[in-house]
């Protein structure tokens, strides 16, 4: 209470600071408010429509089960991360630890990465369809979908990791090199662990895009409501939702799916946070 009074007092002579503070409050309030609205909207629309048969193991047009889609979503996230995270982190490592600061390559990679991030997912979808389904003659495959999405989220992972690596103090690098450790060891033992929180925030953004993606997946991984092998088709929850929504025949089930989707996202995010903690605390 005292503190608050003191603060108000000091704002008297610094109205501009008060304005900044208010702006921050308003902005944060808006952000949170919007999230609450959207989540509330999903819950209100979705919860009454949840029913046990939507969690049957097999999908058919009667039960409209989302169970295969739930499993596929998790599998898809894992598979995409398996491709995108090593490549994204590897590329960021090259840019920060090997390439000369301000070199042409760094600029080129950065520009291309940012360009990739602006390409609409439908174009990724068509590209993936043409490359994997047609040229490679794979047809609709889970693998094709995962590769397409991996390219799609690559820039997110790359840029956030790059920023995180840059933030690791040079004294750690010096300390490690000074002990005769090579670059690799320095990178894997010292630098990456310190950069984990930054990397994770990028990964979570990436997971968000994978979980929420529809257009790119419909043309690559297809829309079959089954748990697939790598080389067959399967739909994620978002695609499942899209399929239910598109003809307006299963609106209620679609909203119920959205609720489950929310929970899945929360769980995946919590899981990545937990893994990050494990990785940093050693």
């Amino acid at each position: 209470m005292e503190k608050l009074k003191g603060q108000l007092e000091s704002y008297k002579s610094q109205p501009f600071s008060l304005v900044l503070r208010l702006l921050m409050w308003i902005a944060t309030f808006l952000t949170v408010g919007i999230t609450v609205c959207i989540v509330g909207y999903i819950l209100i629309r979705g919860i009454p429509n949840l029913s046990p048969e939507m969690f049957a193991w097999e999908y058919n047009t009667e039960n409209v089960s989302m169970m295969p889609a739930i499993i596929n979503t998790v599998l898809m996230v894992l598979l995409v991360l398996l491709f995108a995270v090593p490549v994204g982190i590897g590329a960021a490592i090259y840019l920060v630890e090997y390439a000369k600061r301000g070199s042409k390559l760094v600029k080129l990679v950065r520009i291309t990465a940012e360009t990739l991030s602006g390409i609409p997912s439908i174009v990724y979808g068509l590209f993936g369809y043409l490359l994997f389904a047609t040229t490679f003659k794979w047809g609709y495959t889970f693998l094709g979908g995962a590769l397409t999405l991996a390219i799609m989220i690559l820039p997110l992972i790359l840029r956030t990791t790059e920023e995180a690596l840059k933030a690791v103090p040079d004294s750690f690098r010096e300390g490690s090199f000074g002990l005769g450790a090579g670059r690799l060891r320095t990178i894997f033992r010292i630098i990456l662990p310190s950069a984990v929180p930054g990397i994770v925030s990028g990964v979570i953004l990436g997971i968000g895009r994978v979980v929420g993606e529809t257009a790119a997946l419909m043309y690559t991984a297809g829309t079959i409501a089954k748990v697939p092998g790598l080389m067959s088709s399967g739909r994620t929850l978002a695609v499942h939702m899209y399929a239910l929504l598109s003809e307006g025949l299963y609106m209620k089930q679609a909203y119920a799916t959205a609720v489950v989707l929310l929970i899945v996202v929360l769980l995946i995010n919590a899981g990545s946070g937990w893994i990050a903690k494990k990785l940093t605390k050693r």
Partner: protein, 292 residues
């Protein structure tokens, strides 16, 4: 999910249900409902739109015989049935059109020239707005796929079509399971997908060893997938183009889909003539007070 019955209830409940959710507009009696009409159309190329503009005379031919689509520039465009319905359900001045099979009681279907949209009226010809659902196949179709096509066109298959609120295209007699096994992939139009899924499930009852995958994306992808051999059977909710048939695929109509003109449930208008619909969608009629 029982589409056939929901279609029927819609027509009756349309005007009576409005009282349940009353707002000032609901109390307006027919005749003094006014406001700018917000027409909503489908995207260019859509099968639904193609049928709609052709049958309502929104499409005309110029001197050289080229078709011209006269849909007003200011019409909202959407590419999805559910968005169309949600939009109409949320805007009392809106008017749009959807597949009969998708219709539900969130919106009101209008009588056109005195005919209610239903399977029966489409069948007996009193309700004229419909479009074909096509499947696309290539020469050298696999045995199972051919058997599935045979099933679709059979009496049993066409019964599934009718049960789900679409109009049968006549049948080629009874189907008998041949005890085949294998996998059939079907891909294409999202409009055709629901009925195709039902057909696939019914077929699997008879042929437990056959696996049928139904990919839902869009008509063009359905046709190209069939051409590229990515799927056995393509689905399209529009007519095939010459450039497509020239690549070795043929289209077969498996059902007719009625197209319902829909308005908000608060809208007191129950019936329009086809001329009125045309003039609304070409932008000549702009206010609801002009069509009552």
């Amino acid at each position: 999910s029982d589409t056939a019955t929901s279609t029927d209830t819609t027509q009756e409940s349309g005007s009576t249900d409005a009282a349940a959710t009353d707002t000032p507009a609901a109390e307006t009696k027919s005749g003094d409902f006014s406001g700018l009409i917000s027409p909503i159309s489908r995207e260019e190329g859509s099968g639904t739109r193609g049928a709609f503009i052709e049958l309502f005379g929104i499409e005309t031919k110029d001197a050289d015989g080229n078709k011209i689509d006269n849909t007003t520039d200011t019409a909202e465009i959407t590419n999805s049935t559910s968005v169309m319905m949600t939009t109409v359900a949320g805007n009392e001045y809106a008017i749009g059109y959807v597949s009969l099979g998708s219709l539900d009681d969130t919106v009101k279907a209008l009588k056109i020239d005195g005919a209610e949209p239903s399977v029966d009226t489409v069948k007996d010809g009193s309700y004229k707005i419909s479009r074909p659902f096509n499947i696309v196949t290539k020469d050298g179709l696999s045995e199972v796929a051919a058997d599935f096509v045979k099933y679709i066109m059979s009496e049993d298959g066409q019964k599934v079509v009718e049960d789900n609120g679409y109009i049968s295209q006549g049948n080629e007699g009874a189907y008998e399971a041949a005890g085949l096994s294998g996998k059939v992939t079907v891909a294409g139009s999202s409009s055709v997908t629901p009925v195709m899924e039902k057909l696939a499930e019914a077929y699997k009852e008879l042929n437990p060893d056959v696996e049928i995958e139904v990919q839902q994306n869009d008509s063009t992808t359905g046709v190209t997938s069939a051409i590229d051999g990515i799927c056995d059977i393509g689905m399209a909710s529009r007519e095939l183009k010459d450039t497509e048939t020239s690549q070795g695929v043929t289209g077969t109509s498996i059902a007719l889909d009625g197209i319902a003109v829909i308005v908000n449930k608060q809208n007191p208008v129950d019936e329009l003539t086809s001329d009125q619909v045309m003039s609304i969608f070409t932008g000549e009629t702009q206010d609801w007070s002009d069509v009552q």
